[in-house]
């Protein structure tokens, strides 16, 4: 590479909004950090371009290897062999681990990875560590992600010959607001400022909106509203979206997602080949890690081959007389992973019904992500939608291209040809609400609400002369409150003594243009104009890493003494 004429931004501590008054806006780059692969793209002035690393790769493996003092990530590092990534020294799949507590099933499933994932099952951050000189050296998913992002930033700075600060990142639909704060923290550690976090299928939707707009310009297409169903399945997550597009505006109608991806297909198949795998590898010694790597690479290879051939021969020698020999055919692979495919199908159906649309309403079916080549996935998606797959996109580049477009739009770039007269009208991927009516989750901003949004619900007390009320905010779509993600909690004080059911406690939620969530709450006595005490305004989330503890501790300490119930007549406004 040429001389390093750039200066690396050293002001990573001050992430303020001090915007220089230069006339040329800094165009934010788009980054798609996949569970397994990662890419960076930027608006070049006329189109979106993917950036390449020094080895001329557009897609780079998402991992960081810890060696001696300097860790190295998949952007700069050249792996001698895939086994090197599986030696225990490399941490990968960080997107699946970030912002999760050690009681999370996803964290538990990650214990079969070569590096160390240790859980105490008490609702705190899991302990993860890389094997360095035969010692487990601890790190965190945020730190690993930050190291990786620094490499990406340096790569982009070298190529674009300017400092990079603003980024648009794609995220899975199912990421909670707490997880988003962890992503933002990792970015801040890497000296990057997050301009937008876009659910992956909505980035694809923006690219689709641009393509439709181009068609209209070029061959005078109809320009009428088009409904697209986007199915995006990568290594770690499976997301769907339905978007209504016209005039460069992509209106997200519904979102649905799950933490199922290629990693699950891989682990299920590994378990199928070696049923006592968990026991066999549980000691996590160097020998076990090596064997785990052998099995992982062989299985991954087999799954890739099954996309183009009906069966594949697997032959692994684990040593000590333990051998795996098997001819795995496609049907067997599909049976082993049946529940994954069923869940994928249910996401599509859920998305359609949430958008209040029928299959026949869908104009285009867009299939993207690393799993889009798997025949079963293609057949399933085409079968449900009764349609061929849209062919205008590279399935591995669609999300990052959409993120780069959003980066240009959000940076305020204008294009003389109108290529950037684009907009995505986002919706909330998950409901946000509070604990009320006993141990129930009462949504205040329901799922698939157009953002920015502002909604309120009126609650009341459950005890006579109740002077305080506990507001516990959750995000998710489970009826049982504890199954949702805790975002924060605070108390409303100074409720005037009154019989139960009389005080009106107003809880308002507000999501602004930058997707930040505020909760405003207070009490107004019936017949009065002004609140009895000053309203509370709390930015969410407020919880930290040990949030698994919090809900339980609150419950133990207060029980139902500070509870609330919804006021039926006031719910609708």
């Amino acid at each position: 590479m040429a001389e390093q004429a750039y200066t690396v931004a050293s002001d990573s501590e001050t992430m303020g909004e001090e915007k220089s008054s230069s006339t040329v806006p800094e165009i934010a780059i788009g980054i798609d950090i996949g569970t397994s692969q990662c890419s960076v793209a930027v608006w070049s002035g006329s189109q979106v371009e993917l950036l390449r690393n020094t080895r001329n790769q557009k897609l780079m493996k998402s991992y960081v290897t810890f060696k001696d003092e300097v860790p190295a990530g998949g952007v700069s590092n050249q792996l001698a062999h895939e086994y090197e990534m599986l030696s225990g020294a490399a941490i990968f799949n960080m997107k699946r681990l970030i912002g999760r507590v050690d009681t999370d099933p996803i964290v538990h499933a990650s214990k079969s990875l070569p590096f160390l994932v240790q859980t105490l099952d008490i609702g705190v951050r899991p302990f993860i560590a890389a094997l360095v000189n035969n010692m487990w050296r601890s790190t965190t998913p945020e730190e690993v992600l930050a190291i990786f992002l620094v490499e990406l930033r340096v790569m982009a700075e070298m190529q674009l010959k300017r400092p990079i600060r603003n980024v648009v990142l794609t995220i899975p639909v199912t990421f909670s607001r707490f997880q988003l704060t962890r992503i933002e923290r990792a970015c801040a550690m890497a000296g990057l400022h997050v301009l937008r976090l876009m659910p992956e299928p909505t980035a694809v939707a923006l690219l689709y909106a641009q393509q439709q707009q181009q068609n209209v310009h070029e061959n005078m297409g109809s320009g009428s509203e088009k409904i697209a169903l986007i199915f995006n399945m990568g290594a770690g997550f499976c997301d769907t979206a339905i978007t209504a597009t016209a005039g460069g505006v992509s209106q997200i109608r519904s979102l649905a997602g799950s933490t199922l991806g290629g990693e699950d297909l891989l682990q299920n198949t590994m378990h199928h080949l070696l049923p006592d795998m968990d026991n066999y590898f549980s000691r996590h010694g160097i020998d076990e890690i090596r064997k785990m790597g052998l099995l992982r690479v062989a299985t991954q290879d087999a799954i890739h081959k099954l996309s183009t051939q009906p069966s594949v021969e697997i032959d692994i020698d684990l040593g000590n007389g333990r051998k795996i020999y098997k001819v795995l055919n496609r049907m067997e692979f599909e049976e082993v992973n049946q529940h994954v495919f069923e869940k994928c199908a249910s996401l599509i159906n859920q998305c359609l019904s949430d958008a209040k649309l029928e299959v026949d309403d869908v104009n285009d079916v867009i299939l993207v992500g690393g799993c889009s080549n798997i025949p079963m996935i293609r057949n399933m998606v085409m079968g449900i939608c009764k349609k061929d797959v849209y062919s205008g996109m590279n399935p591995l580049e669609a999300a990052v291209r959409g993120a780069a477009l959003e980066g240009a739009v959000a940076s305020g770039v204008n294009d003389p040809f109108g290529s950037l007269d684009l907009l995505t009208i986002q919706t909330t991927p998950l409901s946000i609400g509070i604990r009320a009516d006993g141990n129930n989750f009462v949504p205040i901003i329901p799922k698939n609400t157009t953002m920015p949004a502002r909604k309120d619900v009126v609650f009341t007390t459950v005890h006579d002369n109740q002077v305080e009320a506990l507001i516990i905010i959750y995000e998710g779509d489970e009826k049982a409150v504890e199954k949702n993600q805790l975002l924060g909690y605070f108390k409303i004080m100074g409720i005037p003594p009154a019989p139960k059911g009389v005080p009106e406690i107003n809880v308002c939620m507000d999501i602004d243009a930058s997707n930040s969530l505020r909760v405003l709450a207070g009490v107004i006595m019936p017949g009065e104009q002004n609140p009895s005490a000053p309203f509370m305004e709390v930015r969410m989330p407020t919880v930290d890493d040990g949030h698994g503890w919090c809900a339980e501790a609150l419950n133990r300490t207060y029980g139902s003494t500070l509870d609330l119930v919804t006021v039926q007549k006031k719910v609708q406004r």
Binding site: V249, V413, D421, T450, D512, A513
Partner: protein
């Protein structure tokens, strides 16, 4: 500077159909202004817009949707200057509320209409049937009658 010129023209024509441009010239400029100009623009009063009226000028569902999209491209905080984030957010929330109301009304109307239509259809069929049965009797009775004559 050609950039600004051409996009001004473009967005200008886009906005025209709403026949409301007189009250919104400032805002129009604001949207199409290139980045460098955005920061220098004075705050624009967006408060006094009756979105309900704006959106339903053309009553068909397609027209409402089209109008909503075009207005979203003007008022959504993502396309407005960050310094006006708060105001554009408020305005967009208004706009969306009006849009949802209109969609709601539209779907209720359709339901009503389709319910009426199906009831009408049913009544027509019913009256035809009853007329026929009074006049010539049922198919079976007519057949019986013809067979008798035969």
């Amino acid at each position: 500077m050609n950039v600004i010129q051409s996009s001004t023209l473009k967005s200008g024509t886009v906005f025209m159909p709403f026949s409301h441009s007189k009250s919104l010239p400032m805002h129009l400029k604001f949207r199409v202004a290139s980045v460098s100009c955005k920061t220098t623009l004075p705050s624009v009063k967006m408060a006094a817009i009756d979105f309900h009226k704006e959106l339903s000028v053309n009553a068909s569902l397609d027209e409402i949707k089209k109008a909503y999209r075009k207005m979203a491209l003007l008022y959504h905080p993502d396309v407005c200057d960050p310094s006006m984030a708060e105001e554009s957010t408020r305005v967009f929330v208004e706009l969306h509320k009006a849009y949802e109301n209109l969609l709601d009304q539209d779907s209720k109307c359709r339901e009503e209409r389709s319910r009426e239509a199906s009831r009408d259809k049913w009544e027509i069929q019913l009256s035809k049937l009853s007329r026929r049965s009074q006049k010539d009797g049922s198919w079976a009775s007519r057949m019986r009658a013809t067979n008798q004559y035969a």
